[in-house]
């Protein structure tokens, strides 16, 4: 994939828009190839292969703005899109905070962050199918109690992202990701449970062996067999890295600038305040080599950087794009994200909680009686108030040992209290998406069951 023609197209559209008298223009372009396959019980269940493209446009008419999106790159369609967007921009509201970024913020060079590996698109469909097949085969071989499978899958995408604007910025970068996943089903005495595991990487070479993924998925499904409710109680809760990550995700939702300027977050007005114990540090790092949230510049063209969100337990920064930064009288943290078909919003780069010094096994061992959570369900998080109540499944802890699986319970608390009561942080930080956390131990929450 050559970037040249896309860069030219993006610049052409910016020029075309500027000719129609707008005061600013921003064009985002993306082209990508997608492959996905599911293998179930040894046979290919589905195979999908395609190429897609999209162009997002944002125009300013004074301080009024409008945006648009198309997957149709014919010159006639693009001209019509520009004209319609100009017309829309003329009738939206005056909004001084919505103007173009300051020119000096624009990235001046495009760092190579290792986001692309050609091996993802170099191997053939047969080899990709084989990776998925091996993951499922390994899962099914673990135990006769693994009786069925929702399938194993292999997915990959690779593509190019381009941004051009009327400040003269032009940048592009290539990216790729691939993943292998397994979803086996375990069955014993009529009780059925499924779980999953996956590996994801920027390059095929960095993907875990499919057998390792399959075996881990089977282990997770098997340990859920015979799950039951527990009695309602207030006990310490250990979140495994997969579920702890969702808590970091809630913190992001609460610390994003657009929630703050609207006072729609429980973190409004808490800059500089102690949110969590001193050993808690939370960072947003857009420059991590090969990171799933890494990029050389954000979706407004601003140079990428590292932003500490929580330092020694104190809230030190909100995450901002240019708009929310202006609303709050602060500087952008290069967290602008634009899904092509929508407006520019605030998004995380690589947002993670720094690992602690206690091994996850030792965290579990330290709990007399508690709940090790491995799955969360539902949408019971209120970012305005911090109220938290979600469905959960996992394993019960008695005297430092995992005793029996638990399901059909909820865990509840308030994020303000939960943050203050992070008692332990594990050593097991691993990046499997743009948001990551090690194992966490939190006290003071309620488990609701029978």
């Amino acid at each position: 994939m050559e970037n040249g023609h896309l860069e030219n197209l993006a610049q052409d559209i910016v020029k075309q828009a500027m000719k129609s008298g707008v005061s600013g223009a921003e064009v985002t372009l993306q082209e990508e190839e997608e492959f996905s396959t599911t293998v179930r019980l040894g046979k290919v269940e589905s195979l999908k292969e395609s190429a897609a493209k999209g162009l997002g446009l944002r125009l300013l008419w004074g301080t009024r703005s409008a945006s648009s999106y198309t997957s149709d790159f014919s010159s006639q369609s693009l001209s019509r899109l520009v004209a319609r967007t100009v017309a829309m921009a003329q009738i939206t509201s005056e909004d001084p905070a919505g103007v173009m970024p300051e020119a000096e913020l624009m990235a001046t060079e495009v760092a190579d962050l290792g986001l692309y590996s050609p091996d993802v698109s170099e191997i053939g469909a047969d080899q990709k199918i084989e990776l998925a097949r091996r993951a499922e085969e390994a899962a099914l071989a673990v135990d006769p109690k693994i009786t069925n499978s929702e399938g194993s899958s292999f997915d990959s995408t690779s593509g190019t992202r381009v941004l051009a604007n009327s400040l003269g910025f032009l940048g592009s970068y290539r990216f790729s990701t691939c993943s292998v996943a397994a979803v086996p089903l375990a069955e014993q005495n009529g009780n059925k449970q499924r779980d999953f595991w996956y590996s994801v990487a920027r390059s095929l070479a960095k993907l875990d062996e499919p057998e390792k993924v399959g075996r881990e998925a089977a282990r997770r499904a098997l340990r859920r067999l015979g799950a039951r409710k527990v009695k309602t109680a207030q006990v310490p809760i250990v979140f495994d890295p997969e579920t702890a990550r969702s808590l970091v995700g809630h913190l992001f939702e609460a610390a994003r600038g657009d929630a703050i300027y609207r006072s729609a977050s429980f973190l409004t007005g808490k800059l500089g305040k102690q949110l969590a114990p001193e050993y808690i540090n939370l960072l947003d790092d857009a420059l991590r080599p090969g990171g799933f949230g890494s990029r050389p510049f954000d979706d407004e063209g601003v140079t990428s950087r590292v932003t500490p969100l929580v330092e020694k337990g104190k809230l030190s920064h909100y995450l901002l794009n240019c708009y929310s930064a202006r609303k709050l009288g602060l500087k952008t943290t290069a967290n602008a994200r634009r899904g092509l078909s929508g407006p520019t919003v605030v998004g995380p780069n690589n947002l993670y909680l720094e690992p602690g010094t206690t091994a996850p096994e030792d965290i579990i061992r330290s709990v007399q009686r508690g709940f090790y959570v491995t799955e969360l369900m539902g949408f019971g998080t209120n970012i305005v108030t911090g109220d938290y109540s979600r469905g959960a499944a996992g394993l019960w802890i008695e005297k430092g040992e995992l005793t029996h699986p638990v399901e059909e319970v909820t865990i509840a608390g308030n994020l303000n209290d939960m943050l203050l009561h992070i008692e332990e942080v594990g050593t097991d930080l691993e990046f499997r998406s743009s948001i990551a956390s090690p194992t966490l131990l939190i006290t003071g929450m309620t488990v609701a069951g029978a």
Partner: protein
């Protein structure tokens, strides 16, 4: 009134002979069935925040997906370029799923039209002036702020789309449809004025497969705005929800999400065909108390979940899923109905041309019963009344589902008393409805803003429920343990 749209023929110069030849190509390696799905969608959306329009966005998405079914295997490819070369290329890629000589030598297409039009719209929203839509958002903003001085923030989002589709199948069917859809949503934040500055939020909204005149009836922007504001204000005085098992009364309308999560997903045929659902192999068995009849109905005029035809070209219908407590049928798409040797239910849906169809719900609701809502509430000595919900989720295999109440109250001695906050309900799909002990006579459908996600694909859906009482469900609050 049958509808056959010339849109793709007129706009993209498609001709039937070409479609037939693409299908021939798709079956070139011997698949059992192939179809082409052409889609052209235009969307527009607005976001009003801080009493000004912060975003206005328009979008166009065009593409064609080619699917080939060979036994229980599916090959799929799509293109966002409708040139003959690119469609042929996609057909060639999708064909790879099969391994053998071509079995279908020629496909003769017959334009069948859709049998009904459940959403005739005189003036589609996408052709109306942006100013009219801005005014709807502004009206909602003013009404929410005027409702109560404690309303501090109002966000209004408006979105509409018009989708043209054309489906050509190797069974000779050639179907088109034209699907309008719009919604208006209001989100409010209220702040208490008693010195504690507590914050709470409320949401409301509505829409359907309608035109802008939808908002000229009783469902005005002001109606949704006042409802969102009311919810936020009520929540200001809410106390912590109790934790543990208790008797729960669900109010009418949107709480029908219970059916969607607890029952609906588990009855989608793909999971059942593979033995992956908690409901697998249970047709004919009791899965609910005998006062429960649950249907999935894609034919209700102008509803958000309704469709003239599903995304495989099959006319939608009124499907009885549970009749007086007995499981009657699953929701089928072409692949599963072939393999299970049962008839189609008009439930094959997909998010867009870039997605493989699968069995999905349309509008899922429970038929009305005989009790009055007042009687039902009066029959509860101690429990919870859930009036409104946020989202929900289900684990298909073990049947465990969860959903979050956004407006709920304690019931004490048969009376609704204090509002409670942060209440998530969790239960078990195959048993939850067996504990339904009362069904109200007040069936209500939701306001028309629901979206369902499955395997990464989002589709618009509807739900409905009369007031019902469930004798035992776990409530996940932080308050003192009940019972």
């Amino acid at each position: 009134m049958p509808v056959f749209e010339r849109f793709f023929f007129d706009t993209y110069g498609l001709i039937e002979k070409d479609l037939e030849s693409y299908l021939g190509e798709a079956l070139g390696a011997g698949g059992d069935y192939a179809d082409l799905y052409f889609e052209y969608t235009t969307t527009s959306s607005l976001l009003l925040d801080e009493s000004i329009i912060k975003n206005a966005t328009e979008g166009i998405s065009v593409g064609c997906g080619v699917r080939v079914i060979a036994g229980d295997q599916t090959g799929y490819a799509y293109t966002d370029d409708l040139s003959p070369e690119r469609i042929r290329k996609a057909a060639g890629i999708a064909a790879h799923i099969a391994h053998g000589p071509s079995q279908v030598h020629s496909v003769g297409l017959t334009a069948t039209g859709t049998p009904n039009n459940y959403y005739p719209v005189d003036s589609p929203s996408t052709e109306r002036e942006l100013k009219e839509k801005l005014e709807l958002a502004n009206r909602a903003d003013r009404a929410a702020r005027a409702h109560d001085s404690r309303i501090k923030q109002v966000r209004v989002s408006y979105g509409d789309q018009v989708r043209h589709i054309l489906i050509a199948g190797s069974d000779g069917r050639l179907v088109t449809d034209y699907q309008p859809l719009l919604r208006l949503s209001v989100f409010c934040i209220a702040q208490s004025n008693d010195g504690t500055n507590r914050l709470q939020s409320g949401t409301s909204g509505g829409g359907g497969r309608v035109g802008l005149d939808f908002f000229e009836g009783d469902k005005t922007p002001e109606y949704f705005a006042r409802e969102a504001a009311r919810q936020a204000i009520v929540q200001l005085d809410a106390r912590e929800a109790p934790a543990g098992e208790m008797e729960v009364v669900l109010g009418p309308g949107w709480p029908g999400i219970l059916l969607h999560e607890a029952i609906g997903h588990g009855l989608e045929a793909d999971f059942n065909r593979k033995g992956l659902s908690a409901f697998s192999g249970r047709v004919g068995q009791r899965v609910a108390s005998d006062i429960c009849t649950v249907v999935d109905d894609g034919t209700i005029p102008n509803r958000r979940g309704s469709l003239n035809v599903d995304d495989e070209g099959t006319p939608t219908q009124y499907n009885v899923l549970i009749e007086k407590g007995i499981l009657r049928s699953y929701l089928q798409d072409k692949l599963s109905s072939r393999l299970m040797n049962t008839s189609l239910t008009g439930s094959g849906r997909r998010e867009s041309y870039a997605h493989i169809p699968m069995p999905r719900m349309t509008n899922t609701y429970m038929l009305a019963g005989e009790s009055t809502p007042e009687e039902i509430i009066a029959s509860v000595p101690k429990g919870v009344y859930a009036a409104h919900f946020g989202g929900g989720q289900v684990d298909i295999i073990n049947g465990k589902f969860v959903f979050s109440a956004s407006e709920a109250y304690l019931i004490e001695d048969g009376k609704i008393t204090q509002p409670i906050r942060g209440a998530t309900l969790i239960g078990d799909g195959p048993t939850a409805l067996t504990r339904v002990t009362e069904v109200g006579n007040d069936l209500r459908l939701d306001e028309g803003v629901g979206t369902c996600g499955k395997e990464g694909q989002s589709v618009p859906v509807g739900v409905g429920l009369p007031t019902i009482k469930i004798s035992r469900l776990t409530l996940g609050g932080t308050g003192v343990a009940a019972g």
